[in-house]
């Protein structure tokens, strides 16, 4: 060791540090990979089992022969109705409430109470939301079991999460922007409209869109409030349901044909699951695309 470079010799301490570094990297990588594996397995398994039944006709046809054949159109349509209406209710309320909480609210007992309510509401199990929806919308408000009652129940369920994600998006806008606006005599609302919302809209939209998958996937909240075992609907009819009628839904349909109806061909429940999953993944992909697009236009 007399010749050669002598300035950067690896001491035992440095060697240990280097090994710990690479070990840490591999552990983190393995964990990330472990998360992807189940997803791929589930998808592969489902698609393989569902393959014989999957077709465009499966999407567009109503079920026939006691749901043992045909397609899933009424359930798919019902899920779309439920998700769209519930978000149409929850998104505006949630976003406006979050703007209040993040931009206007001062730190006092009243606003702390609201915060606490939001957090706790987010932790309530969906079956409890179902019972609440049954009591509040179906019975007390007299709406009856219907798409409207089920959508409102889903809206109550998604609301706290929309509030939380919107607040996070708003909080990511630097405070210095707001102060710069206040300094030139802008009101809070002028500040919010000109600077805060345009720079947090991508995060807000992403949070809202991600709630689509939750609203589409839950069975419990709609089971008591508006989902139906079976309803005859024409192939591809987009306007088959009225607001105050009950509807079929994918999650409920899957539950029914998987457990309640004997003699369903094996591929049919799997195909239903693939459609549900595919729809959710499609929506999530849209959310990612929106976020990427908006971020590319981000201005600081």
């Amino acid at each position: 060791m007399t010749d050669g470079p002598t300035n950067f010799i690896e001491t035992p301490f440095v060697r240990r540090k280097r090994r710990a570094e690479s070990l840490a990297k591999w552990v983190f990588l393995a964990m990330s990979f472990a998360m992807v594996v189940p997803l791929l397995l589930i998808l592969g398994f489902l698609v393989a089992r569902a393959w014989p039944a999957l077709s465009l006709d499966f999407l567009l046809d109503p079920p026939v022969r006691g749901m043992r054949a045909g397609g899933i159109w009424p359930a798919l349509l019902g899920t779309i109705y439920l998700v769209v209406i519930s978000l149409a209710v929850a998104a505006p309320i949630g976003i406006l409430a979050a703007v209040y909480l993040n931009e206007y609210a001062r730190d006092n007992w009243f606003n702390r109470l609201i915060n606490l309510a939001v957090i706790n509401l987010a932790g309530v199990p969906s079956i409890v939301h179902a019972l609440f929806g049954l009591g509040a919308f179906v019975l007390a408000a007299g709406i009856g079991k219907s798409i409207l009652a089920a959508s409102l129940t889903l809206a109550v369920m998604t609301l706290p999460v929309i509030i939380a994600s919107t607040r996070e998006a708003l909080a990511s806008v630097p405070r210095s922007f707001r102060e710069a606006c206040w300094n030139v005599g802008a009101t809070r609302w002028q500040t919010i409209r000109a600077v805060v919302l345009p720079n947090s809209i991508s995060g807000i939209l992403t949070g809202v869109i991600l709630q689509v998958s939750r609203a589409a996937g839950e069975t419990a909240p709609i089971m008591f409030t508006g989902a139906l075992f079976f309803k005859a609907v024409d192939r591809g009819d987009l306007f088959a349901y009225g607001l105050l009628e009950q509807c079929m839904a994918l999650s409920m349909h899957l539950y029914v044909i998987a457990t309640q109806v004997p003699g369903v061909p094996e591929a049919v429940p799997y195909a239903t699951a693939v459609v549900l999953l595919g729809a959710v993944l499609l929506v999530n992909a849209t959310a990612i695309a929106v976020r990427v697009y908006m971020r590319s236009r981000k201005k600081w």
């Binding site: 210095s176 922007f177 300094n183 030139v184 005599g185 802008a186 009101t187 000109a194 600081w300």
Partner: protein
């Protein structure tokens, strides 16, 4: 000679964040159309003082304010149109904050908030303010590109243009040169000397020499108290009559 009516009068101002008092009862006047220097180390209450002036201190929770600040004779805490007060006072922050808007919209933001809608009026204002801030020639061909893409020195001049856009009578600069190079600093100092004829300027600075170059009178603030307030000629002389001032100004403080 009768001294002109002060633009700003501060009387026994005390300011506390929660239980921690940061300004311990200070009184001073700022005269019309003077450049008033405020020097002092960090944590001496300079920025808090400015925030009391335009009442953006209201946005900080748990603040207790005593005493009085009068702008043109009116106690700022009694003013109902606080947005009018803020338009009367231009504020430039230490680090340039280019709003994520175009250069044009950065400058037009304040007039728009005040209700100016006519395109021609806005165009004129934007050009006037950018010229005042010595930025016009550099950006006149790209007014509709993002303000945040400018260099640091340009962004600071943009914030000065924005602070001028609501046609203030008082301009506060809070350590404006902290993030910019000396050449740009000298340009802005030149701008300030020109603006002096039309407005009162409060110059908070860490750079002792800057206050000496620009300010007619200088206040040395330390730990929320006024150590000395006098003509800059006195403060920066070899014998300011106060040992702390002498040591701070000559860099042997502490």
């Amino acid at each position: 000679m009768v001294s002109p009516k002060p633009t700003i009068q501060v009387q026994d101002l005390r300011l506390a964040y929660g239980t921690k008092e940061v300004i311990h009862g200070i009184s001073f006047d700022i005269r019309r159309h003077e450049i008033f220097g405020i020097i002092g180390p960090a944590q001496s209450g300079k920025t808090s003082l400015l925030r009391c002036l335009n009442r953006t201190i209201d946005f900080t929770p748990g603040v207790r304010l005593e005493g009085a600040i009068r702008v043109d004779g009116e106690d700022v805490r009694q003013i109902r149109d606080v947005f009018g007060l803020r338009r009367k006072i231009g504020m430039v922050a230490p680090l340039p904050v280019g709003l994520p808007l175009s250069i044009y919209d950065n400058v037009a933001f304040a007039p728009r908030c005040a209700g100016v809608k006519a395109r021609s009026e806005l165009d004129g204002l934007v050009e006037h303010c950018l010229r005042q801030a010595a930025l016009w020639d550099e950006v006149k061909d790209r007014l509709h590109t993002l303000g945040t893409k400018l260099s640091g020195g340009q962004q600071q001049r943009l914030t000065i243009a924005r602070a001028l856009s609501h046609q203030p009578e008082i301009l506060c600069l809070d350590e404006f040169s902290i993030a910019i190079d000396p050449v740009t600093t000298m340009r802005i100092e030149g701008v300030l000397k020109e603006l002096q004829s039309s407005m009162t300027i409060i110059l908070v600075t860490n750079l002792v020499q800057q206050a000496r170059r620009l300010a007619r009178r200088t206040m040395f603030l330390w730990n929320g108290r006024i150590v000395q307030l006098d003509a800059s000629d006195v403060i920066f002389s070899e014998d300011p009559g106060n040992r702390q001032t002498y040591e701070y100004v000559h860099g042997i403080f502490g």
